[in-house]
């Protein structure tokens, strides 16, 4: 199993949540102190470099107009890391290409990063979370159509080497496409796409791309992964390799249970801070009408109330892995078996006020004491044995998603 270190690069120095409507979209940036922000950027870059040195892979992402993630341009962070890291694979998850007016810019940026890093780029494409609609000024309706058309243009730009070609699609047009540089990896960097339902995995599996799932936990993971594996089998007549599936969770490893709990509570800031009102979390066309209606009625998450996810609940759901190295290994192993296996663990290892030192403690413990066992676990496991392990675990029952917004389970 490949493990990836990830932080959203939050700016946590905010006033009381009761004094603002939303942490996203319209929180005034007068609350952002550029001096503190500079320190944070350097701390986060140091953490990613530490991950590289420890033997972890590196993951970055982007959001806009939000204190939860002050990276509105992930390619800039990745450009720095392409130069400063030495060995890690560099995953951007991802480029919000449904919201970009010109996908060619993405094709060019990614090609540059791939060349600078001498072929270490893993290129993710995402539809984006609902709160990105307002900052991007893009209607989320038919976002997946836009994503796939932009993807087609980018891949063709990466793989065409004999001069300009024409691309006049429904959403994106360019008539003289001929990017410089072309990617380092041939025919192009590996592609990842986030998936949030069994159905959404179908085109991802058909392309043999890695499907990444964020925080679906025990309640949703089987439906999504089964969707991928079935689609892969249908399209290619063989089982999906483990490394085609990824799972993102919050992770904190401590020397002892008490230290682990304290660290995990800090990482949980990612969830507890997400105060977002309905008009940002439920833009028209992001969710199908039946889901949007549930949010409008307040019978489903996403209503933007201050969320109060508890650590124990989130651990039980498989959204947080936290404890001593033995405990974390056991938690991941159990989830991995329940899920029917996956090849990538995307670890949000830092959030909120978790310090550099606290983060590094967890990263070291993970790398030294958990990671080798995970690699052993995946190396020794074939598809048949996995299915047998999985069959040994009945479907877990969860009443509902509670206050946990649907936007997290996408």
């Amino acid at each position: 199993m490949q493990s990836w270190f990830f932080t959203e690069d939050a700016y946590p120095y905010l006033p009381e949540a009761s004094t603002y409507e939303s942490i996203r979209v319209n929180l005034p940036n007068k609350y952002y102190d550029p001096d503190k922000g500079a320190d944070l950027y350097h701390m986060y870059l140091d953490l990613w470099c530490a991950a590289d040195e420890l033997g972890l892979e590196v993951m970055v992402n982007e959001h806009h107009q939000t204190a939860t993630c002050v990276v509105p341009a992930a390619p800039i962070i990745l450009g720095i890391l392409a130069r400063q890291t030495k060995r890690a694979r560099l995953l951007i998850l991802g480029n919000p290409i449904a919201n970009r007016s010109q996908p060619l810019r993405v094709a060019e940026e990614m090609a540059m990063i791939d060349v600078i890093s001498r072929g270490r780029l893993e290129c993710g494409f995402v539809r984006s979370v609902p709160y990105e609609a307002a900052p991007a000024n893009v209607l989320p309706f038919r976002g997946m159509q836009r994503l796939w058309e932009a993807h087609d243009m980018i891949v063709k730009a990466w793989t065409t080497h004999d001069g300009p070609f024409n691309f006049e699609g429904r959403w994106f047009q360019a008539r003289q496409i001929n990017i410089w540089p072309r990617p380092y990896q041939q025919p192009h960097p590996p592609i990842w796409i986030t998936v949030g339902s069994g159905r959404s995995t179908i085109p991802v599996a058909q392309h043999k791309y890695t499907g990444a799932v964020f925080l679906a936990g025990y309640p949703r993971i089987r439906e999504i992964y089964d969707g991928y594996r079935t689609a892969y089998r249908t399209a290619h007549g063989q089982e999906a390799p483990l490394d085609r599936l990824a799972y993102a969770a919050l992770v904190y490893v401590g020397e002892n249970a008490q230290q682990a709990r304290a660290g995990a509570e800090k990482v949980l800031w990612y969830m507890t801070s997400n105060k977002v009102p309905q008009h940002w979390s439920n833009p028209p066309g992001y969710h199908p009408p039946a889901i949007a209606a549930q949010i409008m009625r307040g019978t489903r998450g996403g209503a933007g109330l201050p969320l109060a996810p508890r650590l124990d609940e989130q651990m039980a759901r498989g959204n947080v892995f936290a404890g001593t190295p033995d405990q974390v290994f056991a938690q991941i192993k159990n989830f991995w078996e329940y899920a029917g296996g996956f090849g990538h663990l995307l670890m949000m290892g830092q959030a909120g006020f978790l310090t550099y030192a606290e983060t590094l403690t967890s990263m070291r413990l993970f790398t030294q004491e958990v990671y080798p066992r995970l690699q052993e676990l995946t190396a020794s496991c074939d598809s048949e044995r996995l299915q047998a392990l999985r069959a040994g675990q009945p479907d877990k029952e969860f009443a509902d998603l509670g206050a946990f917004g649907v936007e997290f389970v996408r």
Partner: protein, 258 residues
């Protein structure tokens, strides 16, 4: 004319159309709110007119044609509807987004039209780039939107008191509304340069308390449409036909009798 909802094939689309009453043809284009909300007002109109009130594709649970993605799709749909029904001497009435569609129809072809009535219509951008001429109803909490749209916000439909089916339809209406109006938001930058082509009498009816497109917006619209008249309706917001149906009806009758 038999009252009820008909399905009329236009451009290969099964268009849902309420046809009700007899008299001069009155084509009514609803706004971003539920077309069902118009039912009682249409019944009043049908006492005097042959009412033809289509449901914009995507509203009220109807499908959005795959190739639809802009307001112009509605404009050509209704230009074709006028031809398909071979209507003449038509009074064209549109509310809010429907008013914008009506104007776009009129700047293309008024040969089947005799009069135009615009109720709190959007479609133009009178101010400069820094001016928010039209409230961003997709970027505000629902109670704030209700205050902008209604003189009496208690009149606003509330998801809390609706059935699941009604809320799901409302959510679907919202998607369609956004698809037709998202960018440029609720207006066509070119429209002001085409309004001179409107050569039939035009009446603007406006709720005095409209907070989404205030009366100043109506005044700008009036100045851009040759010979247009503006009547401001007290104690009404963005939907005067809902909040003051009698007053709206009176003005409609007086206008068409001129």
């Amino acid at each position: 004319m038999q009252a009820g909802v008909n399905t009329i094939a236009v451009q290969g689309i099964d268009l849902q159309v309420v046809r009700q009453g007899t008299g001069r043809p009155l084509l009514v284009l609803h706004g971003g709110d539920s077309p069902q909300g118009l039912a009682s007002f249409l019944t009043r109109l049908a006492e005097r007119f042959e009412v033809i009130a289509p449901t914009h594709p995507g509203f009220a649970g109807t499908a959005i044609p795959e190739h639809f993605d802009t307001l112009a799709d509605l404009v050509y749909l209704y230009l074709d509807l006028l031809d398909v029904l071979d209507l003449h001497d038509v009074i064209l009435m549109g509310m809010s987004m429907g008013g914008w569609v009506a104007v776009e129809v009129a700047v293309r072809n008024t040969s089947r039209l005799s009069q135009i009535i615009l109720v709190d219509a959007v479609g133009i951008k009178p101010g400069d780039r820094d001016t928010r001429d039209i409230a961003d109803i997709f970027g505000l909490p629902a109670p704030e939107v209700a205050k902008l749209l209604f003189h009496d916000p208690a009149q606003a439909p509330s998801p809390a008191t609706m059935t699941d089916e009604q809320v799901t339809r409302l959510a679907g209406d919202r998607i369609a509304h956004a698809m037709y109006t998202w960018e440029p938001y609720m207006h066509n930058p070119k429209l002001r340069y085409r309004l001179h082509r409107i050569n039939v009498p035009t009446l603007l009816l406006w709720g005095a308390s409209d907070g989404m497109v205030p009366v100043a917006y109506a005044e700008a619209y009036r100045q851009m449409i040759p010979g247009a008249r503006l009547v401001v309706i007290p104690e009404a917001g963005h939907l005067p036909h809902i909040e003051q149906p009698d007053v709206v009806l009176q003005h409609v009758l007086a206008f068409v009798a001129r």
